[in-house]
Amino acid sequence: MAAPVTDRPLRTPQQPSSRRRRWPLARVDAKFTPYLFVSPFFLIFGAFGLFPLLYTAWVSLHDWQLVDGEQGFVGLDNYTALFGDPNFYNALGNTVSMFLLSTVPQLLAALGLAALLDRGLRGRTFWRAGLLLPNVVSVVAVALVFTQIFGRDFGIVNYLLELIGLDRVNWQADSWSSHLAVSAMVMWRWTGYNALLYLAAMQSVPRELYEAATVDGASRWRMFWSITVPSIRPTILFTIVVSTIGGMQLFVEPTLFDPKGASGVGGSDRQFQTLTMYLYEKGFRLFDAGYAAAIAWVLFLVVLVFALVNFTLARRIASKG
């Protein structure tokens, strides 16, 4: 853009450039258009994200029926009822249990897989795509297929158990077995995805670090824990927080694991009902919007607390490593 510089008189901004006519509103344009560009995001988030969340707090302070509407202000009654509700604690415990059962092995496996993939493989795209495949499958399909695989009478898992001389398990019947089955679905879907995130981070670790460690005679295992893991700490923290948020909201997998689907309560004895399922039951099947709103807010706080605790914990552990 090197226009020949002849004599340059001092021009006031109103005077159009000699080279090209300047749009008179250019200044206004430059000042306000950026806000126009980012405004759709804030409008959409405000209307369908923030407003509902805040309004949930308002609803939770009322006796509010989904069909009949507001029935009067009740203060914190919904919350006191919730904290005395055994079903709530049951759902909370189930949620935490399934979150831990799925997330811990999942992230460890993802770390291992990423380490394998980080070693100059042939057919890189093929392996990476293979890892990601489960992630593009809908949760509904995953839940249905796994429910079949974990079936009591004709499921493959039970068939294999019997083959090696163990007893069949009625997967839906107990809490531990149902939690394991649901966690398997979550793990199947997300392990590869997290491995890809780790791989991306591992590839930006300076190779000289490994070379120096090799010269020092460090083992592969040692290098993994002393170089790779600390180097990709931000990504590990990121996946932990995201998995926490996702895990605390677990809904589709356990819902479809129940033979009654969305009209069930997570097993005959609520043995795998999660908090979101309980919210759905109260809000959309029993129409108690006020109570469901209270669950929603407590769930939100639980998510925040867990995300924060995990974040701090993981940071501490990683920095010791």
């Binding site: 995001f41 959409i44 923030l50 493989l121 489960p134 249905l144 297929v145 590869g192």
Partner: protein, 275 residues
């Protein structure tokens, strides 16, 4: 871990085992979908496809209005994908390359919104939708999903990496409006990443279940996922019918994925938080 030694048999073996585990449930779903229902009762679980696939597909279309479900899902997913690409690119471009007051703090808000779980607002959101008389209508699913933090984040990253400052400056000197600069300079440069975002949001919208289940009438205007899930919830579970539906619902996304796997994998790795 990188060394000069090429990975050996063990590495490929482990990865193959994992790949097998990734593919098996999909394959199994297809096998059951191709059998008649009695095969499920066999002593040994079926592993070889049978010849009943088309009969089962026909049964799926008889049991639920699958055409309508496909049409609904297509409308929802493509609108959401196009909107996300456009709106996220606009915002991402502004955050990466334009100067305005409060830019950094506004971007922090965007990142922060990713922490707000949308599911928690479902009750008022549902009330809002019925207030607007949108219950059972597709816009109730489309509007909340038009743009998201992840997309803005990805497109900002894309602009930072690929849109040269000099070109924007040049366009500005030439008297180009900001909007035109976006369309002529930024958008062409970030086209690959925008395409990836489009595909990812398409898949997410296609696979969504919770919100469509709540706000659409399952008997009247379901999406593919809701329709498939109703196949599973009868008094008597018809496994081959159910997994035929599941297979059908997964096929379009798998096809899209296999076609574009390289770009999608690259897109996800690029969107990652790097260490």
């Amino acid at each position: 871990m990188p060394t000069t030694r090429r990975p050996g048999f063990l590495v490929y073996g482990l990865l193959s085992a994992f790949l097998l585990a990734s593919v098996f449930p999909l394959y199994f779903s297809f096998v059951v979908a191709s059998k008649d229902n009695s095969a499920i009762g066999d002593k040994v679980p079926p592993l070889i496809p049978g010849g009943n696939l088309f009969a089962n597909i026909a049964r799926v279309f008889d049991t639920v209005d699958f055409w309508l479900a496909i049409q609904n899902s297509l409308i929802i997913a493509s609108t959401v994908a196009v909107a996300n690409v456009l709106l996220s690119s606009l915002a991402g471009f502004a955050f990466a390359r334009l100067r305005f007051r409060g830019r950094d703090s506004l971007f922090l808000v965007v990142v922060g919104t990713a922490m707000v779980p949308t599911q928690l607002g479902v009750i008022p959101l549902y009330m809002l939708m019925s207030e607007l008389d949108w219950y059972g209508q597709l816009q109730a699913v489309i509007l909340p999903a038009l743009v998201g933090a992840l997309g803005v984040f990805m497109m900002r990253q894309a602009c930072e990496e690929t849109v040269p400052h000099e070109l924007i400056e040049a366009a500005r000197v030439d008297g180009c409006s900001v909007l035109r600069t976006f369309f002529t300079v930024a958008l062409p440069a970030i086209r690959p990443q925008a395409a990836v975002l489009g595909m990812l949001t398409f898949m997410t919208a296609w696979n969504d279940y919770f919100w469509p289940l709540i706000v659409l009438d399952p008997n009247d205007s379901p999406t593919v996922q809701v329709a498939v899930s109703t196949l599973a919830s009868g008094y008597y579970t018809d496994y081959s019918l159910m997994l035929t539906g599941a297979t059908l619902g997964v096929l379009p996304v798998i096809a899209l994925f296999l076609l574009l796997a390289r770009h999608i994998v690259g897109g996800i790795m690029q969107g990652a938080v790097k260490g």
